[in-house]
Amino acid sequence: MQGGVIAALLATLFLPPALAQAPAGGRVAPRLLRTTLENGLTIIVEESPATDIVALHTWVRVGSKDEDDETNGAAHFLEHMLFKGTARRKPGEMDREVEGLGGVLNAGTSVDWTYYYTVAAGRYFDQILDLQSDAIMNSTIDPAEVDRERRVVIEEINRRDNFPGSRTFELLRATAFTTHPYRRSVLGPRAGIERMSREVLLGFYRSHYVPSNITIVVVGNVRASEAAAKVRRAYAGFRGAPGLRPARPAEPPIDGVRRTVVEQDVRVAYLAMGFQAPAARDRDVYAADVLMYLLGRGLGGRLRQQLVERSRLAQTVAASFPSSEDPPLFVISAVTEPGAADRTEVAILAELAAVREGGISEAELTRARNLLEGEHVYGTHTTRGRAFDLGLAETIADLEFAAGYTGRIRQVTREDVQRVARRIFDPQRYAISVIRPAQGAGR
C-alpha cells in the first residue's frame, strides 16, 4: 500500500515554489505538490516548515451558480448541514472535537464554491483529516436537524439584510444579471429556504460532493508526500460521478443603465455600481486586478483621492472584483450623504472615463501593482491564507492562477490597464443599486 502510494506520488507534478524570493532568514522554499487520485479527487499540499500550524481545506466546486429558482440557497444550506452529524458522529461532535484540540473550523459558500476549513497545531493533522473527510463523505443530513438548521439559515439571511452595505451588493447582483445564475443570492430567498426539502439538499450532496468535484488543500508543518498519502487513505473509498450539470447561460451585455433604488431606515446613502468583467481564466483578469487597486484600494486609490479628499462627495469609496469562474461584476461602492448619491455616480463615471480615455501614469501603475502584490504576499503568508489562495485557484481556474499570479501582475503595463478599462467601463452599460433614507425623512 505504502509503496504504491509513493510510486503514485513520484509521478505527480512538483511545481516550482510560488514565491521565489528567498527570505533573508534562510527559510526552505515552500514545496508545492498537486496530485489527482484515481477516483478524481485532487490533492494540493504545500510544506511550510516555519510554522507549527496546519491548515486543512476542502474545496467543493458547487455554489449558488449551480442552483435554479427552486433550489436557490441549497449549496449554502448544505454547507450548514455538514456540521450536523455523520454515521459516526452526532450533531455538534465535530465542533467539539476540533475545538477540544485547540483548533478552529468553519466554512463558506459563494456563487462558485463551498469550502470547509480547519486550522490546528500540526500534530493534530490526522484527527482533523479524519473529521473533515467524514463530514464530506458521510453526512447524514438528518431530517430533524434540517428543520432546526433551516431557522439558523433564515437568521443569517436576516443578518445580511440588516447590513445596508451587503444588501446593496445583493440588490446590485439582482439588477445586473438577468440570465446567468449569478443573479441569485448565495443565501437564497427566505421563502425558498422555508420550504426547501431534505430531498433537495440530499440531491445536491449526492451530485456535487463527488471526488472529481473536490480539492483537498493542506498547508503547514507537514511533509508533502506523507500528507498526500494520508489524504489518499482517508478518501480511498470515496466514489461517485458528478451529476448532470446544465450549461450555464451566458449573460448578455447589460442593455443600458439598470437601476434599483430602495428607501429604508438608514441615515446615509449606500451605492454600488457594477460592470461586466473578465472571469479568472480570461487573460485580462490580471490587468483588471491592477485596475481595481488603481481605482479603489489603498489610501492612494484614484477614487478616494478624488471623491473623498478633493470633491468630498463621498465619505467611503472602494472597488472590488472577485476572482470568479464565470464573468463577475467589477463593483465600485460608495457611502455618501443622503442627497449626494446622484452626483457621486456622475463623479465616479467621470473618473472611469478619465482612465479609459486618458490612461494612467507610470507612478500610478507602480503603486497599484506593488500594493496588489504586497497585499497578496501578506494575505498568503499564513497557512490559512495560502490554503485559501491555492484552493480558490484550483476550484475556479487552475493551480497556475495561484502559482503564477504575482509574475503575471508584474507584467501588466499601462496600456493593458487602459485597454481593460475600455473593455469594462462602458458608460452606457452598467447596473447601479442605491439604498438611501426615505425622501423627506430625517435631515
Binding site: P23, G26, G100, E149, R150, V152, N162
Partner: protein
C-alpha cells in the same frame, strides 16, 4: 465637565486597585528597550516571511475622551494620513504603497494604532513615514473639514447597523460615569464642535514618546531594528504621560460601579431581526480574576461548541450569530453575550442566555468541559498570532495595557491553572445585575 468633578472627588477617595503584574523577564527572540525620549520599543525577530511590521500604539481613545470631545482620537488618526509638514496625504500613500507596503491603523477604547507592513528591504522608508506621521502631522484646515464629514458618516453608518447600535446602547448603560460609554466615532455634536486647535492640542499631548509603545516584528535582526528605531524615532516629543492617564488608573474602578439592579434599554427600528446584547461588569487587564473569567467566557460563548452556541443555535435554531466576549481593557472591562434572532423569539433567546448564566452560577462546570475550554483558548491563542501584524499588535497591546509584553507568553500558563471552582467563583462574583440592550422592530416580543 461632570467627569472632571467626579475625578477630583475620586482622586481623594481612591482606594488601592490591584496593580497589574509586570514581569521584566525577556522572551526568546524578543527584546524590550526604552529610548532616551521614553519610547518603549519591543522587537520580535521572525524570519519566516520576508516582511516587517512596524506598529505604534498610543494611549489615546474613548477612555481618555469626555462627552464633549468624544471621537477626537478617531478623527485625529484620520488626519495623520492626510499630511505632515513634509509630505502631502497623496505623497504618504504613494510612498508606502509604491513599495508594496500597507499603512493601516485602528482606534480602540484604550489606545489607537498606526502600522506599516512592508517587504523587509523597505523598512527604513516605512519607519521614516511612520515617525513623520507621529511627530509632524499638519492638520490642514481643509482636511479637517474632509475628516469631519468622514467621521459623521461613520457615526451614521454605525447607527445603520443594528448590532453596532446595540453595542453602543450596552456601553452607555453599563458605564453611566466612565468614558467607556462613548463611541470611538464620537457623536454628531462632539464631532461638529471639534476645532483644529483642539486636535493639535490633543495630538501634542498624547502623541509623545512616553505615551507610546513601538513594536517591530519580522524579518529583521534585533540589532538592525534597534539601530533604525533609535535613529528614526529620536525626534518624538518627550513630554510626560498626560496627567489624566495617570489619574484615571486610580479612580476608574470607582467610575464604573456594578449596577445596583439589572436594567434594560431598548430601541425600536424597522429591521428584520432583533439584536440582543446582555452583559456584566468585569475586570481590568492584569486582575487576578481575568484568567478565570476568560475560561468562563470560553465555556459560555466562544466557538461552535460553547454552551450558548449549542443551546441556542444547534439545539433550537434560534440564532445564526450567538457568542460571548470578554473585554481586555486598561479599565474595568465586561463580559457580553450577543445574538440576533427572529423578532418573535426575542424573549426566548434572552431567557436562554440568562439560563446559561444561571447554570454557571449554580453548578460547577464539569472538569472535562473546563479542560476543553482551556485547550481551546490556548490553541486559538496560537492560531490568532499566525500573521505578523497580530504578532506585533498583541505584544504592543499588553505592554500598553500595563501587563507587560511578556504577558503574551505567560497567558497560556495562567489559563492552564484555572480550576472548575475558580470558574464558579467568578461566575457568582461577576455575573450579577445584568445590562440588557436590544435593538428590534417594535413588534418583537
Amino acid at each position: 465637565m461632570r467627569l472632571v468633578v467626579v475625578f477630583a472627588l475620586l482622586a481623594v477617595l481612591a482606594v488601592a486597585v490591584p496593580t497589574p503584574r509586570v514581569s521584566s523577564g525577556q522572551q526568546p527572540g524578543m527584546t524590550r528597550h526604552v529610548l532616551d525620549n521614553g519610547l518603549v520599543v519591543i522587537i520580535k525577530e521572525n524570519p519566516s516571511s520576508d516582511l516587517v511590521v512596524t506598529e505604534a500604539l498610543v494611549r489615546a481613545g474613548p477612555r481618555l475622551e469626555d462627552p464633549a470631545t468624544s471621537g477626537t482620537t478617531f478623527f485625529l488618526r484620520g488626519m495623520l494620513v492626510r499630511g505632515t509638514e513634509r509630505r502631502t496625504g497623496a505623497e504618504i500613500a504613494q510612498t508606502i504603497e509604491s513599495l508594496g507596503g500597507q499603512l493601516g491603523g485602528g482606534t480602540r477604547a484604550d489606545f489607537t494604532t498606526l502600522y506599516t507592513i512592508t517587504p523587509s528591504r523597505h523598512v527604513d522608508v516605512a519607519m521614516e513615514v511612520l515617525a513623520d506621521l507621529l511627530t509632524n502631522a499638519r492638520v490642514d484646515p481643509q482636511d479637517v473639514e474632509t475628516q469631519r464629514r468622514v467621521s459623521l458618516s461613520r457615526i451614521n453608518q454605525n447607527a445603520d447597523q443594528p448590532l453596532s447600535r446595540a453595542l453602543d446602547l450596552f456601553n452607555g448603560a453599563l458605564y453611566p460615569y466612565h468614558p467607556y460609554a462613548q463611541s470611538v466615532f464620537g457623536t454628531a455634536e462632539s464631532v461638529n464642535a471639534l476645532t483644529r486647535a483642539q486636535l493639535v492640542e490633543f495630538y501634542h499631548r498624547h502623541f509623545t514618546a512616553p505615551n507610546m509603545v513601538l513594536v517591530v516584528a519580522g524579518n529583521i535582526t534585533q540589532a538592525a531594528a534597534l539601530e533604525k528605531v533609535k535613529r528614526v524615532f529620536a525626534g518624538l516629543r518627550a513630554d510626560p504621560v498626560p496627567r489624566r492617564i495617570r489619574w484615571l488608573r486610580l479612580v476608574e474602578r470607582a467610575l464604573a460601579p456594578t449596577p445596583g439592579a439589572s436594567l434594560e434599554v431598548r430601541e425600536s427600528r424597522s429591521i428584520a431581526a432583533a439584536w440582543i446584547t446582555l452583559g456584566y461588569l468585569g475586570v481590568q487587564a492584569g486582575h487576578r480574576d481575568f484568567s478565570a473569567l476568560r475560561v468562563l467566557n470560553a465555556i459560555l460563548g466562544e466557538g461552535l461548541s460553547s454552551r450558548l452556541f449549542v443551546e441556542i443555535r444547534d439545539k433550537r435554531g434560534l440564532a445564526y450569530q450567538v457568542s460571548s466576549s470578554l473585554a481586555l481593557r486598561a479599565g474595568p472591562g465586561f463580559i457580553r453575550l450577543s445574538a440576533g434572532t427572529d423578532p418573535p423569539n426575542l424573549s426566548t433567546v434572552v431567557a436562554g442566555m440568562l439560563r446559561e448564566v444561571e447554570r454557571l452560577r449554580t453548578e460547577s462546570p464539569p472538569a472535562d468541559e473546563v479542560e476543553k475550554a482551556k485547550r481551546g483558548i490556548i490553541g486559538r491563542y496560537a492560531l490568532a498570532r499566525e500573521d505578523l501584524e497580530s504578532q506585533a499588535f498583541y505584544l504592543g497591546w499588553y505592554e500598553i495595557l500595563g501587563v507587560g509584553y511578556d504577558y503574551d507568553a505567560r497567558f497560556p500558563q495562567e489559563i492552564a491553572q484555572v480550576s472548575p471552582a475558580d470558574v464558579q467563583r467568578v461566575a457568582r462574583q461577576y455575573l450579577v445585575n445584568h445590562v440588557l440592550a436590544i435593538v428590534a422592530p417594535p413588534t418583537a416580543r
